[in-house]
Amino acid sequence: MVNLTKTFAAPRGIADLLRRRPSADGVTPVDGVDLAVEKGEVFGVLGPNGAGKTTLIKILCTLILPTAGRAKVNGYDVERESGRVRESIGLVTTDERSFYWRLTGRQNLEFFASLHNFSTDDAREAVDELLGVVDLRYAADVRFLNYSAGMKQRMAIARGLLNDPAVLFMDEPTRSLDPGAARSLRDFIKGEIVGVRGKTIFISTHNLEEAEELCHRVVIFDEGRIKAVGRPGDLKAALGEGSKLSDVFVHHTGKKFEERGGTGAGATAPGFRHDRRGFPHRGGGLGRRRGGV
């Protein structure tokens, strides 16, 4: 990524149709990002909700076009070679709506396999193998709507691995899971996807434990900008003995890092924004942040 920037212009209705470039006013969730991720690396984007993590991932997955700068995934330009990029990636989101709830797990995966140009036989074989990998073979012919949150998330991972991608993007993969299921999923990511399959993983999270446990390197990302990049151990060591990753975050952003579920009644977690009525609200999460009415 070189000087990667995304500015969303303030909407002005039908006049937007005629405008080629966004107007000066608007929000910039990704602002001049320069970053390189090594092959086989697990790279974590650490930041509060609304930091711009999801927009960054969407740009890299070709779902959003950048306003300025360049980005390549697996050597392919996200704008000019978007088809090649999509052949090289898998995306795992927290949005459980991204499946057909009235179809079974197997039917869902076989459908998405066909979108990855699999033949019927190859799709059947790949789906069966992946259902085994994510330990869902026993529920393969059960409708998706009957799955638990953990099962749905494992299905999302199976779908992300369908095309054996060179790069796997994961947008807060444990966000909707209870601590036990999150733990189990992290073990699976570490053991199977990283350990066995050796995938390059670009993972966004606002869970410090997850970042420390999974990532070779992390970037502290806030207000669309890179605040610090490095190995979690190195970043902590730079602040002195006994420092935690949360201290690193505070040091570089000037904000207290609040992990999910950690606020008392009435308090607003840092990283949450206030709407015009003064209520705190959360951004973040593919399909949720921008998927509303």
């Binding site: 937007d16 779902l63 052949e87 989101t93 057909y100 009235r102 039917q107 998405f112 399909g287």
Partner: protein, 270 residues
């Protein structure tokens, strides 16, 4: 080509399974179709030979005339609604984004998503015609080949209008002028329920600007009177011209809409 065919089958299977998961709705739709046909059957009995002067070019029977009209105008409805509704449905179900990160092109996703609707529309047309035959409509002299050619051109033409409509949905989410324009004008000016000749001459000019006028004219002549391809040349020619303009225009519009939505980050908004 094989890949597209495989994908098409996959989309049809998905839609069929989703449709069959709502079996009650599926059978209700079929059941109430009969009421629709019967209504026009009795209206035709009431009209009797009153509209002979206008119906003569189509064989003279109102029930046969309107049966073809309501059966084949279904394709226009499917095209106008099908493409934009599939964009909207996938946006609302949350599945659009998951499909758009695969190597399958956005236009292919939207086009293939509507295949089931066209299959269902064709099934409905066959049922309409079968019921029509049972109620006395004669298709003995039908030129089936000509009817199929007109049907193919009709689907291409109507689908292009549908893709134009989906482009508006992609950008504006609601309030699609193409859909509103064609939905409101086609039934009135397109000759679905009555021959275009009934309209005042100046209004007939509007009819000539609508592809449905040529589709229904051609289809009636082919099925009810067995016109040859040569005799159907004006209708076929008009549909070819409409297709030549609408197909590239709709594809360009859709590509622009996807790019615009990607630029604004609103691809999955609804």
């Amino acid at each position: 080509m094989i890949i597209i065919f495989r994908k098409a089958l996959s989309f049809i299977k998905r839609s069929y399974l989703l449709q069959m998961s709502y079996k009650f709705e599926f059978f209700l739709r079929l059941f109430f179709m009969f009421f629709n046909i019967l209504t026009y059957y009795f209206v035709a009995k009431l009209i009797g030979t009153a509209g002979q002067a206008y119906l003569a070019p189509y064989g003279g029977d109102y029930f046969s005339f309107v049966l073809i009209g309501i059966a084949f105008s279904g394709y226009l409805m499917v095209s106008l609604r099908g493409f934009s509704e599939s964009v909207r449905d996938e946006q609302m179900m949350g599945t659009l984004e998951a499909m758009l990160v695969t190597p399958t092109d956005a236009s292919a996703i939207i086009t293939l998503s509507t295949l089931w609707n066209f299959i269902f529309a064709s099934f409905r047309v066959l049922l309409y015609l079968a019921i029509g035959v049972l109620l006395g409509v004669s298709l003995i002299g039908a030129n089936v080949l000509a009817a199929l050619i007109i049907l193919g051109l009709t689907i291409v033409c109507f689908s292009s209008i549908g893709i134009l409509s989906a482009s508006f949905i992609m950008i504006f989410k609601r309030g699609d002028p193409i859909n509103m324009l064609f939905m409101s004008t086609s039934e009135l000016f397109g000759g679905v329920y009555f021959p275009v000749a009934v309209l005042p001459t100046w209004l007939q000019t509007v009819s000539h600007l609508l592809p449905i006028t040529y589709s229904l004219n051609g289809m009636r002549h082919a099925l009810l009177q067995g016109y040859s391809l040569r005799e159907l040349a004006p209708e076929i020619g008009a549909l070819v011209i409409f297709s030549a303009v609408l197909v590239p225009a709709s594809l360009l519009a859709f590509r622009y809409a996807v790019r615009k939505a990607k630029m604004e980050g609103t691809l999955v908004h609804y």
